[in-house]
């Protein structure tokens, strides 16, 4: 077997890959889009949101944790899988408080853009309307946990890149939530700083820089210009 010639097919297209690459990594390198939220090519996969679910040789699997294999047949953009992805999105929307019109991340938000991509016309389920806190204690950043989708990217960035462990996921099931590493529970009492990687990775509107909100006009924001499927490595403008 020639290791340079390894390929699999994604919806019929031939995708080359190197040993140790996951399906989504190889797909992204080839410029192909597989919907995802908790995956970010710069970090170890977490495999929690299941948006990246594909069928690999007929078996349902998360493409961000499944290694590519030579000759694999992968289906992603099918009605069946997209219908399931849409249901996952609808559950994420009703579980939090996503009032996009007043969210500074709107137009640059991966959750919203993925929902547009998958034609999510309504949240379908009953809203939870949970009561979640807003933490404005830090001088430069605030945390609006109403919008957290528990992707753990802030946790991974702070731990693996910043070496700070500012964020962690706490609780189980529906009680899972992000906590910060301070006795007071307030971001302002941690060593979180604006140039931390953790300040840049939130795919939704939780970790937001103060005093820059809505600086990009509607029509000019990342996903106004092109759909998320056209930006496989989302270059997200600051909200």
């Amino acid at each position: 077997m020639n290791p340079d010639k390894q390929t699999f097919t994604l919806d019929g297209k031939t995708i080359p890959f190197c040993n140790g690459q996951t399906i989504i990594q190889a797909a992204m390198d080839a410029g192909e889009y597989i919907p995802h939220l908790c995956f970010n090519p710069e970090f170890k996969p977490h495999g929690s949101c299941k948006l990246c679910t594909v069928k690999a040789d007929g078996r349902t699997t998360a493409s961000c944790t499944q290694f590519a294999q030579d000759g694999m047949v992968v289906e992603s953009n099918t009605k069946e899988i997209n219908d399931e992805r849409r249901v996952l999105l609808q559950m994420l929307f009703v579980e939090g408080n996503h009032f996009c019109p007043s969210c500074e991340k709107s137009g640059n938000c991966q959750l919203q853009a993925t929902a547009y991509e998958l034609n999510m016309m309504s949240p379908h389920f009953d809203q939870f309307f949970p009561d979640r806190p807003l933490d404005a204690s830090h001088p430069e950043y605030f945390l609006d946990l109403n919008r957290c989708i528990l992707c753990s990217l802030c946790v991974r960035a702070s731990r693996d890149v910043d070496g700070k462990n500012v964020f962690a996921l706490s609780g189980r099931g529906i009680k899972s939530h992000v906590i910060v590493n301070a006795q007071s529970g307030q971001l302002g009492d941690t060593d979180f700083a604006g140039d931390d990687k953790a300040a840049q990775v939130c795919p939704v509107g939780v970790i937001l820089k103060k005093r820059v909100g809505f600086s990009v006009p509607i029509g000019k924001r990342s996903f106004d210009e092109q759909p998320i499927s056209a930006t496989p490595h989302p270059v997200v403008k600051e909200a």
């Binding site: 929307f93 996009c100 019109p101 007043s102 547009y116 016309m121 309504s122 009953d126 106004d224 092109q226």
Partner: protein, 191 residues
């Protein structure tokens, strides 16, 4: 046998579809956006006629083909109107963020209703001898604001705050042409 000559009566006048619209717990922004279809309103009026709507001032919804609802439900009257629309309209469309997920009015949902009423009628600066209105004519507020699909079956959704005139036009023209409505990039918006 003499076959009498048959003359086909000319039937080319299609009956117009009847459309009703209303705003529940909304700001009328979606209706304003509907008017943003501008001169296409004339084309629309070739195909539809309006039943209950702020455009006609008809007070109750009769049998209709399409009902368009702006706003969620925040009080008892909203629930009655919504049910009247559902009972009378073959197709019910939720238009805008408030109808679809509660929107701005639902931002009160994490507060007890009593605190909201206290704040608005009692506590706020400048209110002297304020009291919480309790006239029986006034519809009772619900403890929480709900999207309309939590109360009745909704057939189609046009998201946006408000959706653009173009998005509304696209859905209406798709429906009138018998197509499944589809918005696509640029027209689908939650803000």
């Amino acid at each position: 046998m003499n076959v009498p000559e048959m003359t086909e009566p000319e039937i080319n006048v299609k009956p117009k579809l009847r459309v009703a619209t209303t705003s529940l717990a909304g700001c009328f922004g979606c209706h304003m956006s509907f008017l943003d279809i501008d001169e296409r309103l004339f084309d629309l009026l070739e195909l539809v006629e309006f039943d209950r709507s702020p455009l006609t001032d008809i007070k109750h919804c009769g049998p209709c083909d399409i009902g368009i609802i702006e706003g969620g439900v925040c009080n008892a009257e909203n629930v009655h109107v919504l049910r009247e629309f559902r009972a009378n309209c073959k197709i019910l469309i939720a238009i805008g963020a408030c109808a679809i997920n509660g929107g701005l009015p639902a931002q009160r949902n994490h507060l007890p209703l009593s605190i909201v009423l206290e704040e608005v009628y009692h506590a706020q600066h400048g209110l002297v001898d304020g009291f919480i209105p309790n006239d029986p004519e006034l519809p009772l507020p619900l403890d929480k604001v709900h999207p309309i699909h939590e109360v009745v079956q909704v057939d189609y959704f046009i998201p946006g705050c408000p959706p653009s005139g173009d998005a509304i036009w696209k859905v209406l023209t798709d429906l009138l042409a018998g197509r499944e409505p589809e918005l696509g990039h640029g027209l689908i918006h939650y803000d």
